[in-house]
């Protein structure tokens, strides 16, 4: 497995918040998602990984290179979309694009303007007159216009309507399709991302509480629907996130394989139905410490 990004003991301390001792490895050719509640540290982590802010301690390597001595080389191959994209607000979209272009070794202005046309963003409009969603789209267009090998996006679909959100997620899926490029995305909502992400990370209170392959995670977490009396009280106690439903109840299990045998008779009789848990259900259950 080729690693495209590696962080070791990454720590960032602010007076009221700290991102603590994050170590992670991101393989090449996939979409990696960081989820977590608001204030969990996702933006701080993304900014550290993209070298937007200095770390208090720890190290980041991207493409096997360190920002300490190869910053330009790395940033030439990264497309970073911050949560609050920043531009020369008084100047036009076109000015900002022309300003950014000479910095990149590889620049495809045609791709940029095609995306802006697709997003219906005029080149003449001053950035300060763009909505938050349009600024994000401009930032995404810039990230796509210099043939990056790694995209890092912080809440890229916030402020976008459902059509644009779908379009962006589809672009991300196509971006990694060849297996040589990678997307790292942070979001507090799973909407849409759960379909395209292959690896899932969960942050809470400045800590990386868990990392997993999405399919592996969803193979373990299942939602069990059952009629009243179909499961023993002991079995029911092992379920979390219990819900009353018209035909009975349902609950989540974090280890379906451990319950499989016990559930088999109920599944056979039709009194028990097992379905994949949704990623947001799993994350909420984890957040509650279940």
């Amino acid at each position: 497995m080729t690693l495209i990004l590696e962080a070791r003991n990454l720590t960032k301390r602010y007076h009221d918040f700290a991102l603590k001792d994050i170590s992670l490895e991101i393989p090449c050719g996939c979409i990696v998602a960081f989820f977590g509640p608001i204030g969990a540290g996702k933006t701080t982590l993304m900014r550290l990984l993209a070298h937007q802010i200095p770390a208090s301690s720890g190290a980041v390597q991207v493409f096997g290179l360190s920002y300490d001595n190869r910053e330009k080389e790395i940033k030439n191959r990264i497309g970073y979309v911050p949560q609050e994209p920043s531009f020369y607000a008084d100047r036009s979209v076109g000015f900002n694009a022309r300003f950014a272009a000479p910095f990149f070794a590889r620049w495809d202005g045609g791709a940029l303007y095609r995306m802006l046309d697709e997003f219906k963003i005029s080149r003449e409009t001053a950035v300060k007159h763009l909505s938050r969603g349009q600024r994000t789209l401009l930032s995404i267009a810039l990230a796509f216009s210099h043939e990056a090998d790694l995209l890092m996006l912080d809440e890229p679909t916030a402020g976008l309507d459902i059509i644009l959100r779908r379009a962006i997620l589809e672009r991300l899926r196509q971006f990694v399709a060849g297996g040589e490029r990678t997307v790292v995305v942070a979001s507090h909502i799973t909407d849409g991302l759960e379909e395209i992400a292959e690896y899932v990370n969960f942050l809470d209170e400045g800590k990386l509480v868990f990392q997993s392959e999405k399919d592996e995670l969803l193979a373990r977490w299942k939602r069990i629907h059952f009629r009243e009396g179909a499961l023993s009280p002991d079995l029911v106690r092992q379920l979390t996130d219990m819900r009353m439903q018209p035909f009975g109840s349902s609950g989540l299990t974090r280890d379906f394989s451990a319950l499989r045998e016990q559930l088999a008779p109920g599944i056979a009789s039709g009194d028990v139905v097992v379905e994949n848990a949704r990623l947001d259900e799993v994350l909420i259950a984890m957040l509650k410490g279940e």
Partner: protein
């Protein structure tokens, strides 16, 4: 680096034009003493150029681009140095125009050299303040400097065209009466200080998030 300097140069240029504009009528009337006032524009002009260019700068955007903090600092400092040199040239030309090629008034040359030399480290300090403490601190610093240093100087000498004998000009008079290499030394010391402060600025820019 050139792209950053070119964008920032807009502020230096527009401020230069606006600061020099009031001097033209006096010069056309042959009142060469206006050069002393122009010389005192240097720190004011550089400080206001730094202030306005920093207010308009988007360091968060620059951080996303393949450019290092060292290059950003070098671009800004090189531009300020070049701008100071251009202003010094303008002062020298005014001097030559007003007093003729004989340089009968070395006081004005010394005054121009002194203000340009002092302005260089001052400009460096403004950048460091901006990157370490943010634009609000820079605004307070520049305004305080203008209120405490520049306005009193102009207020004390408002009725003079010729500042040779004006109070507070002792350093310029001393330089003017000293050997020529004294002024060269002054410039070399200012350049050394400027270079040293540029190294400090690089470290400050790398470590601080105040300007982001």
């Amino acid at each position: 680096m050139f792209t950053i300097a070119r964008k920032t140069s807009f502020f230096y240029f527009t401020h230069l034009v606006s600061f020099c504009a009031p001097a033209w009528p006096a010069l056309l009337k042959g009142k060469g003493g206006i050069i002393s006032m122009l010389a005192f524009w240097v720190p004011l002009w550089l400080s206001s150029s730094v202030l306005w260019s920093e207010k308009q700068e988007s360091y968060a955007l620059l951080r996303m681009l393949p450019v290092t903090d060292r290059e950003i600092v070098r671009a800004k400092f090189s531009l300020a140095l070049a701008a100071t040199f251009v202003y010094w040239l303008i002062l020298a030309l005014f001097n030559w125009w007003a007093w003729g090629s004989r340089w009968e008034y070395p006081f004005y040359v010394a005054l121009a050299n002194l203000t340009c030399a002092v302005s260089l480290p001052l400009t460096a300090c403004w950048y460091i303040v901006s990157w370490r403490f943010g634009q609000s601190a820079l605004t307070v610093g520049v305004l305080t400097f203008i209120v405490l240093a520049i306005i009193p100087t102009f207020a004390l000498n408002i009725d003079r065209w010729d500042w040779v004998g004006a109070p507070g000009m002792a350093a310029a008079r001393w330089l003017a009466n000293g050997p020529w290499y004294l002024q060269l030394c002054l410039f070399l010391i200012a350049l050394a200080a400027y270079y040293g402060l540029m190294q400090v600025a690089v470290r400050v820019k790398q470590k601080s998030e105040a300007s982001l």
